[in-house]
Symmetry: C2
Subunit: 107 residues, 2 copies
DNA sequence: ACAAACTACCTTGCATAGCAATGTAGTGAA
DNA sequence: TTCACTACATTGCTATGCAAGGTAGTTTGT
């Protein structure tokens, strides 16, 4: 999978999943991996950054299957950013589609 | 516009336009700009790189409206790469859509 | 003749984000 | 006690887009 395509989009994916409910990092990696190849080394710094920027809060929960899990919860501010980012993404994809399909409809 | 989204995608756009017919750099900037914000400082190095990699050939044409134009022509190898890249892009977008719409269809 | 605006090319240095590789620890099964 | 899995984390590398700058030719207005 083209690494470059993912730039900025994984952030959108994390927001989208957390909008549905709290998750811990490892869980996010697995959920996103169902559809997009992703590495742990990407997710953890990303979560750290977005938390620092105030878009997520965190809390620890003990686990019986391994070390404690750090759950992430989206904030109101995070929700705002998510909505904007999602719209930006959708219109970007539309723009790209116009470019790559321009030939198909030309006379 | 989110700069990160464009990573790798502008390459796809350039391929797509050149697949329809030869273009010079400045013309590509204008065509892509109809749909996506782009800068000259992005396109020229990109064209240079893809030419160096054997995906384009170039030829100069005198212009009556300014300096000579450097036209780019896609090669057979370039066409191959374009097809792969386009498919990668389409399946990537599909993957992302699955992630960001997962909530909409959950019971 | 001169300046501004447009066409058309190009380069340098910076910022960003994803990843491979690596490390730490806890749990559970062979 | 070793392997596999869960779960966290960090470092250094790479790739790409952009702002800002430059060079040159053409056209238009004054």
């Amino acid at each position: 999978m083209n690494i470059q395509f993912k730039k900025g989009v994984l952030e959108l994916c994390v927001f989208a999943i957390l909008e549905e409910g709290d998750c811990y990092g490892y869980e996010l990696v697995n959920k996103i991996s169902e559809n997009i190849t992703i590495s742990e080394g990407t997710i953890y710094p990303l979560l750290r950054r977005l938390t620092k920027e105030g878009y997520f809060t965190t809390y620890l929960v003990e686990s019986s299957e391994g070390p404690p899990r750090k759950y992430y919860k989206i904030t109101d501010e995070g929700l705002e950013v998510y909505k904007n980012l999602k719209n930006q993404w959708l219109s970007f994809v539309e723009g790209v589609n116009h470019v790559i399909e321009r030939g198909d409809n030309l006379e």
